[in-house]
């Protein structure tokens, strides 16, 4: 998928714009509450299949909260409530069995979180809990290759995952998420703790992955969004201010807030 095709707007029930890639995920009037605090206000957003969608915005704007509603990991926090719908292939995620949903919608977190197990067992974990039958060794190798980590770890698969560097750990977490072959991969500021070289490796990786899965990435780094994303959404104070192709968001945003943020005029 190139930037050219990504420039076409998505189909949506309320618009008559030309048809682009079909939506993999679709949020409709999504509201989210931490207790009585409303963190998301009527978010409606469509994530096109096999593209990279970036969500940007200042800290606390709700972009991570939004990401976490997509695989319902937000439910692990007590006393939260969601209103509205999230559709995965037109199926309400609330109606899908949550373990099945998370198998289809993988996630990589801000801070790399390998389990205190060997490199091999980390990658095999998702396969094991999902009752994988077949060659674990092959599946682990395949996932590590997809995450561009295989060459660096193939001789120390039984070593602790904690022996790896920060960037390697994050790619291990990506390999772990890829092992269960998710249709969507959610990344929550995956490079915020990494140096530019490790960051570049992960960005390259995202390009190779998007042929096989749909990617949503939350990032603080606007250059990163501009580099990797086909579409970009700008969040501010729990609202989706603007959502369009990355080119439009960064070159000719229609909203004043977006332009102010992009140009660093506030924040």
């Amino acid at each position: 998928m190139t930037m050219g095709t990504a420039n076409q707007p998505l189909p949506s029930p309320t618009s008559s714009k030309p048809v682009g890639p079909p939506a993999k995920l679709r949020a409709i009037d999504l509201n989210f509450y931490y207790g009585t605090y409303k963190a998301l206000h009527n978010i409606s957003l469509e994530v096109p299949t096999n593209q990279i969608t970036a969500l940007i915005g200042p800290s606390g704007c709700g972009k991570s909260t939004f990401l976490r509603t997509l695989n319902r990991i937000s439910e692990t926090i007590r006393n939260t409530r969601v209103e509205g719908q999230v559709l995965l292939d037109d199926e309400d995620v609330l109606q899908v069995d949550v373990t099945l949903l998370r198998r289809r919608v993988g996630m990589v977190f801000q801070k790399s979180n390998p389990f205190p197990k060997s490199i091999f067992d980390n990658v095999a974990y998702g396969l094991k809990v999902n009752g994988f039958r077949g060659s674990l060794a092959e599946a682990v190798e395949h996932s590590l290759k997809r995450a561009a980590l295989w060459e660096e770890v193939k001789d120390k698969l039984q070593k602790s995952a904690y022996a790896l560097s920060g960037g390697q750990q994050q790619r291990l977490c990506i390999a772990r998420a890829l092992a269960v072959d998710p249709e969507v991969l959610l990344l929550d500021e995956p490079c915020s703790a990494l140096d530019p070289i490790a960051t570049a490796k992960i960005e390259d990786l995202l390009f190779t992955l998007k042929d096989q899965c749909t990617i949503v990435i939350v990032t603080h780094n606007m250059q990163q969004a501009a580099r990797v994303a086909d579409r970009t959404g700008f969040f501010l104070l729990g609202k989706l201010i603007e959502y369009n192709t990355t080119e439009i968001i960064f070159k000719t945003p229609t909203k004043q807030e977006t332009e102010d943020y992009i140009t660093g005029r506030f924040g």
């Binding site: 692990t76 998370r102 979180n113 389990f115 197990k117 974990y125 809990v129």
Partner: protein, 282 residues
């Protein structure tokens, strides 16, 4: 200003010295107690102590094979009763507990931990001894098991709470159920702490005396655990130590030393467990 500075320096030195002196007093007292016990116990102990049962009052010789065996049986039974319940309750508190109910359970557990153990003894007496009409090893083990439950629950909970939330989310995000996540990620990540807490808990009940006075009782011979009074090391120390026979005093010290080394062994084992395996990355 200089006076004030000097005064602050003097005060600082005095307080520092005071804490140092108190630390020395605390440690030396400990060493005096342990040294005396080992010194006296070492001279009193012999092979017979481990192999023979007590001789009739007044006669010298004999041993405490029955008390050693009794202690092991009762502590084992207490562990079987208390450890799984405490462990599971700890998991509940850490992972599933709602706000009010978990707080209630936690408060109750802390309260139970603070209750004098003789109260637990009375309870075990009224629940087991009163109905079976006799002291027994089982009654004592039951009492010790009850003591172990809140200790294990709280220590398990505390160590599981130190496992970063991000690990739980990582497992859930891969499609693990909550129980699978706990069993395959949280417990393994915390197992060294949990195991240490368990070993220290078992060491604690191994030294309990008060709840055994009217549950497992005294016996000069080997006994059937289920339905006969069963002598234990802590109670043997009390009974021999307060008896009017010189040779029994000797045996009380020997028993004290054996008990000390059993607890010491448990502590060392706990530290060994603690120093191995993969640590959770902070």
């Amino acid at each position: 200003m200089t006076f004030r500075n000097r005064w602050r320096k003097i005060l600082s030195h005095v307080m520092l010295s005071l804490t140092g002196v108190c630390a020395v007093v605390a440690v030396s007292l400990l060493f005096v107690i342990l040294g005396y016990l080992v010194y006296t116990g070492w001279r009193a102990i012999d092979w017979n102590f481990f192999t023979q049962t007590p001789k009739p009052p007044g006669e010298t010789g004999g041993g405490m094979a029955n008390a050693i065996l009794g202690s092991l049986e009762i502590v084992l039974f207490g562990t079987i009763v208390g450890l799984p319940v405490g462990f599971m309750a700890g998991i509940y508190l850490s992972e599933f507990g709602g706000k009010t109910f978990a707080a209630l359970v936690r408060y109750t557990a802390d309260l139970l931990n603070g209750v004098p153990s003789i109260i637990i003894g009375i309870f075990a007496w009224s629940v087991v001894v009163k109905h079976t009409h006799q002291f027994s090893g089982m009654a004592g083990g039951f009492a010790l098991g009850l003591i172990l439950i809140p200790i294990t629950a709280r220590s398990t909970e505390q160590f599981m709470s130190t496992v970063p939330q991000t690990l739980r989310e990582g497992a859930l995000a891969l499609g693990a159920s909550r129980w699978k996540m706990i069993a395959t990620v949280v417990v393994p990540a915390a197992y060294r702490g949990i195991a240490t807490g368990m070993i220290l808990g078992v060491a604690r009940i191994a030294g309990e005396t008060a709840p055994l006075i009217f549950t497992s009782g005294d016996n000069q011979h080997h006994s059937t655990f289920w339905n006969e009074p069963t002598l234990t090391l802590p109670l043997a120390i009390y009974l021999r130590g307060t008896a009017p026979y010189e040779d029994w005093h000797r045996q009380a010290f020997a028993a004290g030393m054996v008990l000390l080394f059993m607890v010491l062994f448990a502590n060392v084992a706990a530290r060994l467990v603690l120093s191995r395996g993969i640590t959770v990355q902070k």
